[in-house]
């Protein structure tokens, strides 16, 4: 008994010793438990939460922020943004951005002032730019929406840039910010271009309710305009919308280069881009279209058979589809983007809406 204890302690010591020496030699030190995987964010029922799945799909972990920090993020977790070190978790109803180390998920700070209904954040240099819906849908307040400029060294909002109603997505490219105005509580039809250096803004008119933004390989801005519902069917499904389109805009001239217009009755709500192909949905069917295509496909790429398809993401080999539940865990289905086969399926947070690669 005593001998075995002695042996055990020797063994443990050796492990520590060995691992210590290993650490000293290892230049490829892992940056944290959540490197080399995907992060799934969920808006929340009880609280927004984030799940982790490793790149080889072998390990999964739920509620990683809560696990590391023993705290909740609040409702509703809208989106995340990343710089080299940190992840910025945007929670709209709480007017809060929680900052964590993106690989360890340890909380490093939070921004709780000067945000009002924050939605999305883009990062350029050591600044973060956050779209804010500000006050509600009423009267003069419709136009009080703004971009909050966050100093990423101090995690403080240093100034705001006033923009039109309902700023949603924001992306940065070549010294400029592009903001899609989905319209918050109402509707809008503009893309705002902000010159970061001078903070001057330019508006580009597009179809109604622009949402997702991407840059294609030619450097053009691509936006999904989801259209404004004009009339409902007796069962309250959208019967008619203003035109729905995937619109391509030159970032040089700010002019619209091309538009893929959807037939009436086809109402996509999600769009993603893998570098060469766009993927979008009609109901829970996924369609694939080349970034330089001039027509929309007539047959689907695959049928996700989801109850509530709420998020899609794609990388070189996989298509990630989120089937969201707000009363239980959601589901992440992983499909091969080559064979269209379902590769795997994982539990995802409540109200799962986004997938990020870490």
């Amino acid at each position: 008994m005593k001998i075995s204890n002695f042996l055990l302690s020797i063994f443990l010591l050796s492990v520590i010793f060995v691992s210590c020496t290993n650490d000293d030699d290892d230049v490829q030190e892992p940056k944290g438990a959540y490197e080399n995987g995907i992060l799934i964010s969920g808006e929340g029922g009880p609280s927004g939460s984030i799940y982790y799945v490793s790149n080889d799909f072998s390990t999964t972990e739920s509620l990683i922020y809560k696990k590391v920090n023993n705290n909740d993020l609040g409702v509703y977790l809208q989106s995340m943004a990343f710089d080299n070190e940190n992840a910025y978790i945007v929670v709209d109803n709480q007017n809060t951005i929680t900052v964590v180390n993106r690989y360890t998920f340890e909380k490093v700070g939070e921004i709780t002032t000067d945000l009002k209904k924050p939605r999305y954040m883009a990062i350029a240099g050591d600044k973060g730019y956050v779209t804010n819906w500000a006050e509600g849908a009423y009267g003069a307040d419709v136009d009080d929406d703004y971009i909050a400029v966050v100093d990423l060294n101090t995690f403080e909002v240093t100034k705001t840039i006033s923009v039109g109603n309902g700023p949603e997505r924001i992306v940065a490219n070549n010294g400029k910010l592009y903001v899609s105005h989905k319209g918050a509580y109402t509707t809008n039809n503009i893309i705002t271009v902000i010159d970061i250096a001078s903070e001057t803004t330019t508006e580009i008119t597009v179809k109604d309710n622009p949402d997702e933004l991407f840059f294609d390989n030619a450097g053009n801005l691509v936006v999904l305009c989801e259209g404004l519902t004009l009339s409902y069917n007796p069962d309250w499904t959208a019967n008619e919308k203003t035109p729905v389109s995937i619109t391509k805009i030159s970032t040089v001239s700010n002019n619209i280069i091309s538009e893929l217009i959807f037939e009436n009755g086809q109402f996509p709500s999600l769009l993603t881009f893998d570098g060469s192909y766009f993927y979008y949905n009609l109901g829970s069917k996924i369609y694939k279209v080349a970034s330089d295509a001039s027509t929309l496909p007539t047959t689907e790429f695959l049928d996700a058979a989801a109850t509530n398809l709420y998020g899609i993401e794609v990388n070189d080999s996989y298509l990630f589809l989120l089937d969201a539940s707000f009363t239980a865990q959601s589901k992440l289905d992983v499909y091969s983007s080559n064979t269209k086969e379902k590769i795997n399926s994982f539990a995802a947070p409540i109200g799962a809406s986004k997938v990020y690669f870490n």
């Binding site: 029922g45 739920s62 909740d72 109803n93 509600g136 309250w236 109850t307 509530n308 239980a328």
Partner: protein, 620 residues
Amino acid sequence: MKLYNKVLFFGFFLSSLCVYSQKDTIVTLKVVNLQSVKLYKHSKGLKVLDLTDSIIAKNATSFTSLLRFNTPIYIKEYGAGGTSSASFRGTSASNTAVIWNGININSINNGQTEFNSLNISLFDNINVRSGGGSIEFGSGAVGGTIHLNNELGFGAYSKHQVISTVGSYQTFHNLYKYSFGSETTAIKLGAAYNTSKNNYKWLDYNLENENGAYQQRDFNFSIAQKINDFTKISFFSSKYNGVRHFSGQLPNPSAAKEKYKDFSFRNLVNFNYHKKTATHNLKLAYLTQEYRYFADKNKEDYNFGKSKRYLINYDFSYKISSNSSIESFSEFESVDGKTDQIATKNRAQFSQSLIYNQRYKNLASLNAKVRKDFNSEYNVPFVFALGIEIKPLRNTFVRTNGSKNYRVPSYNDLYWPALGNKNLIPESSLQGEIGVGYKNNQFKIDLGAFYIDAKDKIVWTPGGDPDRPGVWTPINIDKVVNKGLEISTTYSINFVKHYIDLNTNYSYTIAKDKKTNDFIPYVPKHLLNSSISYSFKRINFYYQHLFNGKVYTTKDIIDSYAMPSFNIGNFGGSYNLIKNLKKELQFGFKINNVFNKTYQVLPGRPMPNRNINFNINYKF
């Protein structure tokens, strides 16, 4: 002293009712508005708790805490003072009906009652009945009913009462009551004004409950006039006006800026004619309710919902023999409801119920009830109930009750633009319970088991309609089975001027979706509350305890989303400086959360730590 007399009188009155039903004629002339008596009479096989004014006084600052510490009800409260809803036996909040002087006052808009927008201090007596009651109380009386009663008494008296409470977080509750009785007239008048900043600390987080302030104004008036030995007319009116701010949530309570106002105005005229074996009762009621929701408290704009109800009810009861009686309730109701999203919709309903009461010696009694509703909007199921109580041995009883009950879709369920579903039908449920117990002057125990089989439950579901993916819409979907066990005990000891009272409620509840076998979220498996009170001469001390079991917030029962169980206790006491037949002056205190536990009822909403209030109760 008077209070004690009143309790004694009431207890005596009830027992006399049970034993000699013919004696109730004498008493009904004495006290007007016998909602509570009627309730007991129609509750064969069901369990009724009586929250007397002394129990109410110990929790007078919050209806929510009154129910939480004294009844087997689970309360979802969005932070102390925030939105609060009650559920019996694992059913939903819209399956709890609140009854004001015999009239169901659940909101037309959402089918529920908000317990923090009801001021309890002006009610004389509150009954809580577990089990279905759609036959007497209509929609929503599924899990159980909560009865708020005003009472009037003839006699020869004139009494004033002032209660003033000052507590932590700048909480002030004040009320004034005046009651007057002559041989032919009885009047009661009450006014209450409550306000609190409610900015308690969230100790674990170094934050505070921002935007939690509230203000309530309440005014009650009731009058009864005896016209002759057989005829009485009475009038009850209540006006309430409340403003509350909805407090913030973790991690950033400063984000909160919502405000909520609500107004209610309730009026009831009652004509009662009682002669020999027949009683006629005619009720006319007019009730309005309105809420205004301000997404931003600093702005003028708001969303609203309001309703107007007209109700006429004719209740005829006939005593067939000294052991049996039959009653008929005919009711017509017209409701106009609207919100900023829904144009005015009228809903009219006629309902007819019959209740048969039978007693066999002192051994057994039963109620058999049926009701049919004719509604302008949807088919309401035919409902029925049978309750039996048997006293096989001295002091023991066996009770059983079976009933069918319903909950109609609310205006929001039906008409909310883009989301509502006009094809909804009422939820309905079949339920049964059985209990055994022992009762003597000092001790009472009741051990019961219940089973509720509900179908067509209305559930707001994302993508509930396959043609509307991603849209939250209400559908008649769930079949839910609730089952459980309940124990309640009361024990009073009295030795040489020392009085000890001990009350305990425990319930074990399992609620599951019948199709998927998933648990229903927000149903604590274990719920226990207990209170002990000790009085000696002019001194009284009491302690209240609640154990609220773990609550899952998701259907898939995941621990990481669960709310942990908690234990909390309150300690209070009072001293009567003056106590005689004419005057009574009492000083009291209460320490809420005496062990200073941090706990949350709902995610992200810490509840108050230890806090204290002082009160003065002056009767003259």
